[in-house]
């Protein structure tokens, strides 16, 4: 390959790659820098390094409450998505049933549709049925979106798992439950872990579906959304930095732990 490439073609490619990564990361890096600036009006050049905005965030009880709400919604979303997505992926991979194509289509639909359509569909549904908007209605929305992630991640692992393992287990007299807990579950553990982290990350940052399904209590992105609409302030920069770093840590764990593409 190298012999093929003209030597001079290398540097323009490198320059372009550097430019694209800069384009993707520079705005976020600036936000991070601004969040540590002591000045009230965030203008460069920076005044002094300060943790003032972070201290103010942590002193704000509404932020802490919405953070807790976000964690609870995320955890419940993960559990429901894994149970529904796991059984769904298993059915898709191991069973023959009518309407398989339709099932697959509907699972992936919320993932490919614009989130605004999914959010509005749920809003009209709740309203018509007289269901009060709350963190429960938000969680349902998150599961709807995350189900395809669970089905796809777990499904990919099941597909690569040789069926002979299960057959051997059945042949040795183990029942369905024993086979599931002793053979299948240990083999798909990594996929479950990956799916769980990814779903949690999505739920943690989910904004659009949440906007349409939220009630009185806020999640963190809702609070950030409200703050952002008020303007470009150091507090927003600080909270944006924190959410970005939290997602970054989760994604790095997912990306390095799993060989499957996410």
């Amino acid at each position: 390959m190298r012999a093929l490439r003209p030597g001079r073609a290398r540097s323009p490619l490198l320059a372009l790659v550097a430019f694209v990564f800069l384009f993707m990361y520079l705005p976020m890096i600036l936000i991070m820098v601004f969040s540590f600036n002591s000045s009230q009006v965030t203008i460069l050049p920076l005044e002094h390094f300060s943790l003032r905005w972070y201290q103010e965030l942590f002193a704000d009880s509404t932020i802490l409450d919405s953070f807790t709400n976000t964690l609870v919604v995320g955890a419940v979303t993960v559990v429901i998505s894994l149970v529904l997505g796991g059984t769904g992926a298993f059915a898709l991979n191991r069973l023959q049933f009518r309407g398989k194509g339709v099932y697959e289509f509907i699972v992936t639909m919320p993932f490919v549709l614009p989130e605004i359509v999914t959010g509005l569909a749920l809003l009209t549904f709740y309203t018509l049925l007289g269901i009060r908007l709350s963190l429960v209605t938000v969680t349902v929305g998150h599961v709807v979106f995350c189900l395809s992630v669970a089905v796809r991640t777990i499904g990919a692992r099941l597909q690569s798992l040789p069926r002979s393992y299960e057959e051997a287990s059945y042949d040795l007299g183990a029942g369905r439950l024993r086979t599931f807990f002793l053979v299948i579950l240990p083999s798909i553990r990594t996929a479950l872990f990956t799916a769980a982290l990814l779903i949690f990350t999505i739920s943690f940052d989910e904004t659009v579906i949440t906007i349409f399904t939220i009630g009185q209590e806020n999640t963190l992105p809702m609070l950030i959304w409200a703050m952002m609409r008020r303007g470009f302030t150091p507090e927003v920069n600080a909270i944006a930095t924190l959410t970005f770093v939290a997602s970054l840590i989760l994604i790095v764990i997912v990306g390095t732990r799993s060989k499957d593409q996410v």
Binding site: L44, L95, L113, V117
Partner: protein, 294 residues
């Protein structure tokens, strides 16, 4: 101790299979029926109702669709959104392809790092990434500072924010990973032997690229383009935060019907027009096998 299953045991296991099938399939099917199929049907139903003085009138009418297609504002915004979706798709393709190529075929040691650098912006908060462009384009942003330093501007200018160009930049920056990843996946799958065969047969780099690499990366490109296009069509966050009056996109108009304007049936009709466009695009892309990637 469990003995190897006899034929009879295996048959009885098969007898329980129907129940097992239902048990596996039922939870997610019921969930999907109740929380995906029914809500989308209800949204569709809403689009045929009407709203009068903030009250819902549940009588069938095509007025919302008529209004959607005849409304000049909607048409202007729809065209703007489609044009922007096309521009963002073209830009991310041109910028993203070389990056995907670089990671798939040039990087050897640091592949995981580059892969992470692509998926971090992909899965982290879209809201935060869109907002971060205010740090570049805002009155107190980096661009203004640079222009002040260079003496081009005497005073910080607000003109870089709240227009379609600001939305365009933020969308390109935020959506790029959705273009890079599927292309990377399809490039990564090309066996090295294929490329070696091409060079052994005397093809130079560009010829190998044009005849082997590029055609095999087409499904990834199509997948990336579909994702990008759909993401722009559905956006209202970038439009709301950075667009201003001249950068209003269709998502924001729909959002407005459910907020201030409070005309849910009209908003429902508009979202179904959006739904139909997205659906057609995905169906076309799906026919070419694009959505199997990434």
């Amino acid at each position: 101790m469990a003995r190897p299953g006899t034929a009879r045991q295996r048959i009885s296991a098969r007898g329980g299979r129907r129940l097992g099938q239902a048990g596996l399939l039922a939870p997610s099917s019921l969930w999907l029926a109740f929380f995906v199929v029914v809500p989308i049907s209800i949204l569709f139903l809403y689009s045929f109702w009407s709203s009068h003085n903030y009250k819902l009138i549940q009588v069938f009418t095509l007025a919302n669709y008529r209004e959607t297609f005849s409304d000049a504002v909607f048409r202007v915004v729809m065209w703007r959104t489609l044009r922007l979706a096309f521009l963002v798709t073209a830009t991310t393709l041109v910028l993203g392809y070389p990056v995907a190529y670089f990671i798939a075929r040039k990087v050897t040691q640091w592949k995981t790092l580059f892969y992470l650098l692509v998926i971090i912006p992909m899965w982290s908060s879209y809201l935060v990434r869109v907002y971060s462009w205010k740090a570049v384009l805002g009155e107190q942003g980096a661009l203004n500072l640079l222009l002040l330093k260079l003496g081009i501007l005497q005073q910080p200018s607000p003109i870089f924010l709240y227009n379609t160009f600001a939305v365009y930049l933020a969308l390109v920056g935020s959506i790029l990973p959705f273009m890079i990843l599927p292309i990377y996946t399809s490039l990564e799958k090309i066996p090295a032997s294929l490329i070696e065969a091409s060079s052994d047969l005397g093809a130079g780099f560009w010829r190998t690229f044009a005849k082997v690499i590029f055609p095999l990366s087409l499904p990834g490109m199509l997948g990336g383009c579909t994702f990008t296009f759909v993401l722009v069509l559905g956006d209202f966050i970038a439009s709301q935060l950075l667009g201003g009056p001249s950068g209003i996109l269709i998502g924001k108009v729909i959002y407005g019907q459910f907020g201030l304007a409070f005309d849910w049936p009209l908003g429902a009709a508009m979202s179904f027009v959006l739904f139909a466009i997205v659906f057609t695009l995905i169906a076309i892309a799906g026919r070419f096998g694009a959505l199997k990637e990434g």
